[in-house]
């Protein structure tokens, strides 16, 4: 069967020992509409594609594979709609694979991403053992950022997450990561590794001929057979307003309802009566302010006597 993989990487696809660099893409609507009242999310399949971070991951994968003389596999899990995204990846020279996952969005969100990571690793395993997996550090659809860590666990690989820069350093990789307080950290990453990158890198443009050829190509599909059951420990409910726990409040002291309400609210006990100073001229405002400071004992004694 002619596949996108063969059509676009015929020069490297037959070389089994070249390192495999995998880019994980998530096909999702980038601008879903959220009803502010009911929190219902409406997705438009037409505008669905990968996020900027995912495309950045693919660009990193292409550059690193070129440096290692390796090959690139773009993988997306999901329904046949995800093939649109994969065809864009094929047009810039990646082999592609769609991992067929069943289950609705709600089931998906209730389960953790471990099952998804298992399915992706099993699918990638049919193509080869990856030397590097690059993911976007978040997606617009759910985007928990947990998938790269689960992938690293499944592959028994090193992980470096949330990178702003990823470069080849001989056989290893060098990544740069943000730290608190505006500092950066440079990390050396051994192979095999799973890295997630921020969306700073722009994907190269595909030629028109490549886009047209990829549009008709067949995308290979891997059907995951196990590990798709959602984690039953998590359950989704209806969105509801916040309802704090009930607390036992001591009955307020006081003989009359007014005394009790005053005690409850602290209307007289805990404050100076509110006053509005102004609108007034600057000199009067300063006088009022100094008087307030004096009254509160914030000024040294000699100042207050002036």
């Amino acid at each position: 069967m002619p596949t996108v993989a063969r059509a676009w990487c015929s020069d490297v696809a037959d070389a089994p020992l070249t390192p495999l660099v995998v880019a994980c893409l998530r096909h999702a609507d980038q601008r879903p509409e959220v009803d502010p009242l009911t929190a219902a999310v409406t997705r438009a399949p037409r505008t669905a594609t990968a996020s900027a971070a995912d495309w950045g991951a693919l660009e990193h994968a292409l550059r690193i594979a070129a440096a290692w003389s390796g090959r690139v596999l773009a993988v997306a899990a999901g329904t046949p709609a995800a093939e649109d995204t994969l065809r864009q990846a094929a047009a810039v020279g990646a082999e592609v694979l769609r991992v067929e996952t069943s289950g609705s969005y709600v089931r998906d969100i209730a389960g953790d991403e471990r099952a998804l990571a298992q399915a992706i690793v099993a699918g990638v395993g049919t193509v080869g053992q990856p030397a590097l997996v690059v993911c976007g550090d978040r997606s617009d659809d759910r985007g928990t950022g947990a998938l790269p860590a689960f992938l690293a666990h499944e592959l028994d690989a090193a992980q470096a997450l949330g990178l702003v820069r990823l470069a080849v350093d001989g056989d290893r990789l060098q990544g740069e990561r943000r730290l608190d307080g505006g500092r950066r950290e440079i990390v050396r990453i051994p192979r095999p590794a799973v890295c997630s990158v921020e969306g700073g890198e722009r994907l190269r443009r595909a030629s028109l001929a490549a886009i047209l050829a990829a549009a008709d190509a067949t995308v290979p599909v891997y059907r995951a057979t196990s590990g798709e059951a959602p984690d039953e420990r998590l359950r989704l409910g209806r969105p509801r307003p916040l309802r704090p726990r009930t607390q036992v409040a001591r009955p307020p002291a006081g003989d009359s309802p007014r005394a009790r309400v005053l005690h409850l609210t602290g209307a007289l006990a805990t404050h100076e009566p509110p006053t509005v100073v102004g609108p007034t001229d600057a000199a009067t405002a300063v006088d009022a302010f100094l008087e307030f400071l004096d009254r509160g004992g914030y000024l040294p004694q000699e100042d207050s006597r002036e």
Binding site: R240, P241, L242, R243, P244, Q247, P257, R258, V261, L262, L264, T265, G266, A267, L268, T270, H271, P273, P274, T275, V276, V277, G278, P279
Partner: protein, 98 residues
Amino acid sequence: MNERWSQLSFEDRMATVEFRVGERAHITVDSDICRSCTTKDCVVACPANLFAPTADGGILFNYEECFECGTCYQVCNSEGAITWTYPDGGQGVVFRRG
């Protein structure tokens, strides 16, 4: 804000209810009487923060997000400063059961 309500932020407190605002103001405040009030208890006591002191010593009041708790009427000690009624049928605060 007032320390006494600090377990629940003001925004969260307001978000737990819905207001069906009626045409008629069910609470009115006579700012002329408030001018001679020295304590302004209502400003601190109202959980919905509906009383605002003005520069001339009076009170600016807005009835639209009122919980109808009656606190302002209870704490105010000035005869005639607050006229308090419930909103007309079908209007006013709607408490949810969470």
